[in-house]
Every structure is written in C-alpha cells, then in structure tokens.
C-alpha cells in the first residue's frame, strides 16, 4: 500500500539521494573516511527499507518514536548511520535533519562514521576491572595496534572500551557486533581474532559501505573520550594548569592568556590556540594521548 500512495514516492527518494550526492561537498561528509556513498545505492536501500520503516512507525502512537529503531535498521545495512539515512528519517518523520542528527549523536551505539567489520567493545566497568579487565584491554590494544575508539588500517576491527555491559559475573566480558563474549582470556582473544581475519567467526560482520577512518567519533566528542581532557601535567614543558582546570595541552589557560593580549576575536577558537602554541613554541600538535584512559 505504501508503494501506491506513500507520503513521498520512490521517485522522490532518488531525487532526495541525488540531491545529497550533488551537494556532496558538505564538509562533514568529507571528514576522514566518511565518504558519501553513491546516491543511487542509497536510493535503492531506502526503497528497500521503506516498508520496514513504515511498519516501525505504525508501532507507536507518535511517529517520532520510530527514530531509534529506524536508525538501527539503517545502521544494520550501511554499517553506520550516514547523512543520507538521517535525512531519510527526517523526511519520513517530518523532522528537520538537524533534529535527527542531534538525537542520533546522543547515543553511543550509533556510529556516525564508518567502522570496522568487527566492532569489539570490551567492558571497562569497575566490576570487570576488579577481575582483570585492564590486562585484557592491554592485550587487545597491543594485538591490534589500536587504541580506544580506533579502527585498524585494514578496516577490519574497531576497538572501544565501554561501560558496564550488565554481565559483571562473567568478567571480563565484551561484545562483538553486540553479541556477548564472556570470561575473556588472552587465548580466547587470539582465537577470536584469527577466526575474524579468516572470515569464519560465528558473529556476522558489520555491513561496510564506506571505508572507515582512524576513528568513528566526530571531532568534538574526542577531546573528552580519548583522554584529551587529562589533568594538568607536572614536569612537562607545557604550562601546568593548576587544580585540574584546562586540558592536558593547557588549552584553556592559553586561551585566556591569548584573549587578554588581544588577538582578533574573529579567529576561531582552534586557530587562536594554534597561534598561541606558536608563540610559546609548544609543538605539541597531535600529542593528545590516543590511548585514552
């Protein structure tokens, strides 16, 4: 029935997607690895998923409630939530794309950039830590050569240390593409990674419609989650920010200082800071601790 008289016809879908392709120069779509996939591919996917989306909408008294389930659905097929998908959801739910993106960005299980085929989410909760989670984290990081919130160069693995997974009696536990693995040991990790590399692991790999970048986090999330906001450092060439104010590169202190000596307010925050770094010969660019905490 939806295909006869939908709020927006399949033809429109193509238009919608090709509009996106035409405006593909949007900066957020160019950021590392989040290449806009072909508009036509998305139009096809949209047409395919549309009946399921409508069934989801019908489950609720108000249609906006279907947003999360719809995003889960698109992510299942695309491997992440693309801007096309958010736009499509906005159309179907009569929301603005900005509202959809703001909502999607609230939830850590929605990846707004492509991820690896196996998303390894290892628990870092206190109860797992009491039973050796840190050793497991170290083992994973070394084995895969990645840090928290990073994807391997071959695009196979994305690694994240996550909060309590509600399986603390089976510490240390993790999820592989949201399927639980309990009572981890280094040997299990070796076996698991081998099988994944061979493509024979029991859990289905994530769909991958675009090449993942180094991380799937969007920039502003990173400062905090990757340890950029570490406490003031002692014994470092960087200015020591007393009492934990500011981040590990002393940005807030510098920022204040720079403002006082009257740099042009028209400059962006980041640029001001970079300039300030120049002034102080603090070649700390990119030195934020990728390992997170």
């Amino acid at each position: 029935m939806h295909s006869q008289n939908p709020p927006m016809g399949v033809g429109d879908d193509v238009k919608l997607a090709s509009q996106n392709a035409a405006s593909g120069a949007q900066p957020h779509q160019q950021m590392d690895g989040a290449q806009a996939h072909e508009g036509e591919t998305f139009a096809k996917l949209y047409a395919q998923l549309r009946p399921q989306c409508e069934a989801l909408i019908a489950q609720y008294e108000e249609k906006r409630s279907a947003l999360l389930p719809m995003m889960h659905l698109f992510q299942e097929h695309e491997g992440y939530v693309s801007h096309d998908a958010m736009r499509a959801a906005a159309e179907m739910l009569d929301l603005s794309p900005a509202v959809v993106e703001s909502t999607v960005s609230f939830y850590t299980l929605f990846f707004r950039k492509p991820v690896g085929k196996y998303v390894l989410q290892v628990c870092r909760g206190l109860m797992c830590e009491l039973r050796g989670a840190e050793e497991i984290h170290k083992y994973f990081r070394e084995k895969l050569g990645v840090g928290h919130l990073e994807t391997t160069d071959d695009g196979l693995f994305s690694y994240e240390e996550v909060e309590c997974l509600a399986a603390c009696d089976r510490a240390t536990c993790m999820q592989v593409n949201l399927e639980f693995v309990y009572d981890l040991t280094p040997q299990m990790i070796d076996e698991m990674i081998d099988l994944m590399r061979a493509g024979t692991y029991k859990t289905k790999p994530m769909a991958q419609t675009a090449k993942p970048g180094r991380t799937w986090k969007v920039d502003q999330d990173l400062q905090v989650s990757r340890g950029g906001k570490a406490p003031g450092t002692l014994n470092s060439t960087r200015p020591n920010n007393a009492g934990g104010v500011g981040d590990s590169s002393g940005v807030i202190m510098l920022d204040r200082f720079v403002t006082n000596i009257g740099f042009s307010p028209a400059r962006t925050h980041e640029r001001t800071v970079r300039d300030a770094r120049g002034v102080y010969e603090l070649a700390e660019e990119g030195s934020n601790n990728n390992a997170g905490h």
Binding site: A66, L93, T233, N241
Partner: protein, 420 residues
C-alpha cells in the same frame, strides 16, 4: 542458606524461552485468571498489599506509585524499564534472556492493573540478543492469544511494543527513558510533573523495573500475604541480588530481603583464597561503600540507609584487600562523567573535573591540596541536579576516600599546584 527460587525458578534447567515449556510450568495462568476473574483494582490491591517495592533503584512502593495516576480519562501507559546499565547490576539482563515470558507476563499484569491498553518495554541497546529473544517471545505470546484484541473473550485489548535503546546509561532514568522512547535525546525532564501525571506522550505513565513487574506473577499466584510474610518490616519479599567483584562465585542469587551482608558473601562462595574483606558496595555504582562494621546488617532498604548507603538495584560488589581504591574511585567517577547528559552544570563539569583530578592521583601525581578539595567538592555536587545521576557521582568516591585515605595520600607528589 536462604537462597530461594521464585523468579529464577527453572532458569538453567528448562528452556523457558519456549512458550510451551513456560505454560507447562504454570505460565500465563495468572494472566488469564486476572483478565477473566479479577478487576484491575484487585490486581492493584494485590501489588499494594504485598508490600512490593520498586526494584529499579529507588525502592518506591509499587502499589502507591500506581495510585498516583489521575482518573482523568486520558490514556495511560505502562513502560517497563529494561535499560539496566547501573554498573554491577545484571539481573534484568538475565531475566530478559532466560525467562522472557515471565517478563512479559509481569508487564501484562502491570498493564491490566493500571488500566493501560498499550504497554512498552524499553530494552537497553546493548541487549541485542535479549531484544531478539524477547521479540520472539512477543510473537509467540501474541499467536497464543496472550495479548492483542479482545482478550480471552472479554472486551479488554492490550498491545505491547518492545523498543530498543542505543547506548546511554541515562536512558534508565525514567524521564530520560520516556524522552528516548519518544525518539528524542535521552535527557531527563524537569520534575514535576512526574510521569504519573504527564509521562509518555504527555499522558499518565508508570515506569517500572523488569524485576518489579515480574514479581507480580508469583504475588498473584501465591497471594499478597505470601510475599509480605518474608523480608523485614518495611522491606518485603524477595530480591535478586547481583553479586560481583572479589568473590568466588559471582552471579545472581535470589533471596528474602533481610539476609545479612555476611551471608550474601558466603552465598557467593566467600572471598577469594587468602584475601581479606575490605568493603561492599551494596546498591550499584551509585551507592556508598559499607565496611566490616556493617557485615551483620540485614540487606534491606532501611538497614542499608542506616549504614550510610542504599540497596538501590541490588548490585552487590565485594572488594577485598587487594583493591586499589584510588583506581576504583577514578573508574567510578569516569563512568558518571562519561554518562552525564550535560544538562546540569554541577553534574557535567563536576564529574569531568573530579575525573581529571583523580586521574592525576592514579598516575601518582596528586597534590596535597587536592585531598581537602576532594572532601569539600565531593559533597557539593549532590542535590543540585535534575536527576539522580549527578547525585550518584560522589557517594562511592567519598566513602572510600574517607576510609582508605592512606591509599590516596600515597599518590601525592607535591604540595600544591604551581601557577602558570
């Protein structure tokens, strides 16, 4: 040993995911009886008389909560809270995956009791497998005529929808949950109005935990007195306790409320060989630790409050003398800093700021001036926030900071911060 099997009955022995197995064991009998023979008021009365208190964290009496719903003719909603993400809690996860029909029967009874025609269950995004198991249970139960239109030949119709979250602890808070269920950011709402007056879609709503609702089934089966005859004076009935940390057999154990702290540790196999007891966190990450002097306290809502902590969601974490409490405090604060939704300044800034200070301690670079400051700040965040997440940052930190101060002092590198 006071381990009792009520909700956990049959788990690990029978395949309770199979609706036929569940029904052979007496499943859905109470539900059918309720719809055919009981009025909603009678179900509500049973919940009230049993003394059942909310198992999600706050321990609010369930019957009383239902009683707050106004009689204004508006549609009412029941929302079952299966967002379980309080570190240390893993009972709802087990119930959802191991005995989904019991969870559903509890929801059905709750819905009938409050007179609702569309109930929702909000399942944590990480429980993808649990969600699939529950969705299958829903389909089987619908096919068996357990819910849908005109149930058991009566005029009562009831719809149930399973909704999956997408990763955010704060969606366990009931108003954050409702926002998330409405397709919004899971940010808690300003209260009042409470959900009972204006909840889901602005209508009167009850949010109840999975375990709370599931207990309605045995309460109806055995009678309210059966439930209220166990437990302590104001903490009635049974509770699933999720024991984790430094014990030999971590796991879920169901027992009457009022079992002592010492007994619970023994039930979980006791401490690891050669270790000494240090502390217990009796109510999830949000609760303060209790210590040796509290080992003989009964595990119930009142006694835990008296010991300076709370029973919360029934997550019971044991720490032995090998624990690095500086790291533990850092881990706990980091959790709240990570999960803060950011609406309230004390919670958002306070959490991150404490995290950074504690990180410094973990690395052995603490400042002597921080000690006094933690003590001071550690009691100023609480009470200034929209929801209880902000109020949960401090209790664990402060309880272990006061008790194990030498561990913090040992990480001090110098007296004070040096200015820029």
């Amino acid at each position: 040993m006071p381990v009792t099997k009520v909700l956990t009955e049959g788990i690990g022995e029978a395949n309770l995911r199979d609706i036929d197995v569940y029904r052979q064991r007496g499943g859905y009998v109470q539900w059918e009886r309720a719809v055919r023979e009981l009025t909603p008021a009678q179900v509500m009365e049973a919940a009230d008389k049993s003394g059942l208190r909310g198992r999600g964290g706050a321990g609010f009496p369930t019957g009383r909560k239902w009683g707050f719903l106004p009689n204004n003719g508006k549609p009412r909603y029941l929302v079952c809270n299966c967002d379980e993400a309080e570190p240390g809690t893993f009972k709802d996860h087990m119930l959802l995956e191991q005995t989904p029909h019991l969870v559903l029967e509890g929801i059905l009874l709750g819905a009938y009791g409050i007179g609702c025609t569309h109930a929702y269950i909000y399942i944590r995004g990480e429980f993808k497998e649990g969600y699939e198991i529950f969705t299958k249970a829903l389909a089987d139960a619908r096919a068996a005529g357990m819910f849908g239109k005109k149930l058991f030949g009566t005029d009562y119709s009831l719809e149930v929808t399973a909704h999956r979250g997408a990763g955010a602890y704060i969606c366990g808070e009931e108003t954050g949950l409702l926002n998330s269920l409405e397709g919004k950011r899971g940010e808690p709402r300003l209260k009042p109005p409470f959900p009972a007056i204006a909840g889901l879609y602005g209508m009167p709503t009850v949010v109840n935990n999975v375990e709370t609702l599931a207990y309605l089934v045995p309460v109806l089966k055995n009678g309210a007195e059966w439930f209220s005859s166990v437990g302590t004076e104001r903490s009635k009935g049974y509770k699933i306790v999720s024991v984790s940390g430094h014990v030999q057999k971590p796991g879920n154990y169901e027992m009457p409320l009022g079992t002592t702290v010492r007994e619970i540790i023994e039930i979980a196999g006791g401490l690891l060989p050669g270790r000494k007891f240090a502390a217990v966190q009796p109510g999830g990450q949000s609760s303060a630790c209790i210590f040796e002097e509290h080992l003989d306290y009964p595990y119930d809502y009142e006694s835990m409050a008296k010991a300076g902590s709370m029973l919360g969601s029934g997550a019971f974490t044991v720490f032995d003398d090998s624990t690095d409490f500086v790291k533990a405090a850092f881990n706990s604060v980091r959790f709240y800093a990570h999960e803060s939704c950011g609406q309230c300044t004390p919670c958002r800034e306070g959490g991150h700021w404490l995290e950074r200070v504690l990180h410094r301690f973990v690395e052995g670079r603490g400042l002597a001036s921080d000690l006094e400051m933690i003590e001071r700040v550690g009691t100023t965040i609480t009470g200034l926030n929209l929801c209880a997440l902000g109020d949960s940052i401090e209790p664990f930190l402060i309880s272990v900071f006061r008790r194990f101060k030498p561990q913090f002092e040992a990480r001090i590198q110098r007296e004070e911060a040096v200015g820029v």
